[in-house]
């Protein structure tokens, strides 16, 4: 699934291949100093190499890092890459990963949301109290919990966008306040167990045991990717603008097919396709589509690039900012429900500990820039895979949590260093 990531950090660079076509509309002589991509497969290779050298690393560092981490743990303990462990890993990362998806949106604006941990705990508490204590139907309680998360985001976004309080401070206040509200909501009981047979509990315990489910999903994803790339290319060719060679599309499709079918195979070796993973992937694909292909997503990227330029071109800056914080709050609430589902309870420590740090770290490790304007929801998957792999491997080896924290911290620093250096390299080679 990691190969779904394109090589570029931003979709804007996706078609950064632009030789003048053989068509006659290239009337003006092109400056000989300009880099012109050769047509065909060779051009694809040289272009990719040039991008790497100029600091557009995309998801390459995190994929390499993940491979190294997996190799080390596999050497230390052969159970690490077993189907059972990988299947469990794919479920364990979902809670943090969904929160990280919301963080990606906020990071794209160049801002930060420190309240997501507390909001996720509060959402679980609201759900448990409404459903278990008050007897509200489960689906209503889920909607209220997610709605509260989004509403919290709107409130925080209002103070940031309209009042002008720095997002860092607003959400730091939120971190404390929403944690307090969670304790208040939970009341004296402290822990509320949720219904084992309910929908929320099933979120992380249900598997599509039919082998066809995982393979079918993999096949559908690959086919969908190929068809959209192919039809997009045909439209480009018809409009006489540069298009990719078919060999490149085929290569990319194969690059996507290998890991997806491998993942499907491994999941089928254990219990099948986990529902949690399916939902996680669906959210990533949906929100990635929103970011790359809709005017709303373009506005978010524009704000991350230049607030001044965005507002002058008629974008309602405050509204976009508030909506992004609402998405972040809503995703935190959804993530909180998945975490509660795993332990089948809402308790006072929910949303605490290193959850917030892991969610932010996942987004950054996955390749979303801390400086705004660059990123992808896929970085939430890659980053949470790295963090989840480290803690899973450490647990297998029986290493203390202390070491786990130190290593995760080092990986986060490494990711931030790569982000900063690649940004500087891009500046030097004029691509940032």
């Amino acid at each position: 699934m990691s190969a779904k990531m394109t090589k570029e950090p931003s979709g804007q660079g996706r078609h950064a291949v632009d030789a003048p076509p053989a068509a006659a509309n290239a009337v003006h002589p092109v400056d000989p100093r300009l880099l012109v991509r050769q047509q065909g497969f060779k051009g694809y290779l040289t272009e990719s190499l040039r991008k790497l050298r100029s600091g557009e690393l995309g998801s390459l560092p995190v994929v390499l890092g993940l491979a190294i981490i997996w190799a080390i743990f596999q050497i230390k303990d052969s159970a690490f890459l077993s189907a059972e462990n990988l299947s469990n890993l794919s479920i364990n990362i979902v809670g943090t990963g969904l929160i990280a998806v919301g963080i990606v949106f906020v990071l794209l604006l160049g801002e930060i949301d420190l309240s997501v941990g507390s909001v996720s705990g509060l959402s679980a508490a609201i759900f448990a109290v409404l459903n278990v204590n008050q007897g509200m139907p489960e689906w209503q309680a889920v909607l209220v919990a997610i709605g509260s998360g989004a509403l919290i985001g709107v409130v925080q976004g209002f103070f940031f966008a309209k009042v002008g309080v720095p997002a860092f401070v607003v959400t730091l206040a939120g971190l404390l306040a929403w944690n307090g509200l969670m304790l208040q909501v939970l009341g004296s009981s402290g822990t509320i167990n949720i219904d084992d047979s309910g929908f929320v509990a099933k979120l992380t315990s249900y598997y599509f045991t039919d082998v066809g489910a995982a393979y079918g999903l993999a096949a559908a994803a690959v086919l969908l990717y190929f068809l959209t790339a192919f039809s997009d290319n045909r439209r480009r060719a018809r409009a006489a603008i540069p298009s990719r060679p078919t060999s490149e599309i085929v290569l990319r499709t194969v690059g996507l097919a290998v890991p997806t079918f491998l993942a499907a195979y491994v999941l089928n070796q254990y219990k099948g396709l986990p529902l949690a993973l399916l939902i996680f992937l669906a959210v990533i694909v949906l929100l990635e589509f929103v970011l790359r292909r809709t005017p709303y997503g373009r506005k978010i990227f524009a704000l991350g690039g230049s607030v001044e330029a965005a507002s002058r071109s008629g974008i309602n800056v405050a509204r976009v900012r508030i909506s992004v914080f609402a998405i972040s709050g809503g995703m935190a609430a959804i993530g909180g429900l998945f975490i509660a589902s795993q332990i089948a309870a809402a308790n006072q420590s929910a949303g605490g500990g290193n959850l917030l740090m892991n969610a932010i770290a996942a987004a950054v490790i996955g390749g979303t820039s801390l400086f705004g304007g660059r990123g992808s929801t896929w970085s939430a998957l890659l980053g949470s895979l790295v963090i989840g792999s480290i803690s899973s491997g450490m647990a297998l080896l029986g290493v203390a949590a202390a070491v786990n924290f130190m290593i995760t911290g080092a990986v986060l620093l490494a990711a931030a260093v790569i982000d900063s250096i690649s940004r500087r390299t891009q500046k030097v080679s004029g691509r940032a």
Partner: protein
């Protein structure tokens, strides 16, 4: 040149607290004409631009659009009339590519989704007709040189099919070659029948592309000159506003410097 100006300012006045920034300023722009607006720092050029662009409406006076008096109270009003403004700081998004910047805020949609193919096709078409040379329409703005950014910003202002384009110091901070590119572009705007207001400090640029020069001094008109029949020194004298100033004294010292 058409008889009715596209845009005419009549008796524009603007006050900021104790400062009378503009007093009874007149300005006419015809279609297919480049009018340079010059003046020393604080002469009121930027204030006048803001009046036209609707950013800072005038206290007094009338703006006429194709002969009819109009209200320009907001930037939206000016854009609606057909006035496009390219500010000095360009306001482009570094992380978006050329196509994304050109269509920012007016994206073309297809079934509610961004139509990248159509936007790219139109971008290439627009840049080709303006003979703008950039390596690719799909690279981030950050990769472009200052002159290329300026041309992209100007091209972007043309997407709204304006009739008047205001360029605020388009060649400031550009090199020789890049300045020439921007001036070429200004001439192409004129060929397309647009009225251009060019704000500049650079007399060489003004002499090169402008048809007329309007001089502002201390918030008042200080003469309009036909570029072909006026010397640079006369314009500078109008800008500084006196015959006895550093420039004329210098000329008196070195008679061969005057043409």
């Amino acid at each position: 040149m058409s008889a009715t100006p596209v845009l005419a300012l009549r008796g524009i006045s603007k006050r900021f607290g104790a400062v009378q920034a503009l007093t009874d300023v007149e300005l006419e722009i015809h279609a297919g004409e480049v009018v340079a607006l010059v003046g020393d720092n604080g002469a009121g050029k930027s204030t006048l631009v803001k009046v036209i662009a609707g950013v800072g409406p005038a206290d007094d006076g009338v703006i006429e659009w194709e002969g009819r008096p109009v209200q320009v109270a907001r930037p939206h009003d000016a854009q609606h009339l057909g006035v496009a403004t390219v500010y000095q700081d360009l306001a482009l998004c570094d992380n978006l590519d050329v196509v994304g910047n050109l269509f920012l805020g007016r994206e073309i949609r297809r079934f509610g989704v961004l139509d990248e193919v159509e936007m790219e096709r139109r971008s290439r078409e627009l840049l080709n007709t303006l003979s703008i040379r950039i390596p690719s329409v799909r690279i981030p703005i950050a990769s472009l040189s200052g002159g290329q950014r300026q041309t992209v910003a100007i091209a972007r202002s043309l997407l709204g099919e304006p009739k008047v384009v205001i360029l605020d110091e388009p060649t400031a901070a550009l090199g020789v070659e890049q300045t020439a590119q921007v001036l070429d572009l200004v001439e192409r705007l004129r060929e397309r029948g647009l009225g251009v207001i060019l704000i500049s400090h650079n007399m060489a640029d003004v002499k090169a592309v402008a048809d007329r020069v309007g001089v502002l001094r201390l918030g008042r008109n200080n003469g309009f000159f036909d570029v072909r029949s006026t010397s640079q020194e006369e314009i500078i004298a109008a800008i500084t506003g006196a015959t006895d100033n550093a420039v004329t004294r210098r000329r008196a010292r070195s008679p061969e410097a005057s043409k």
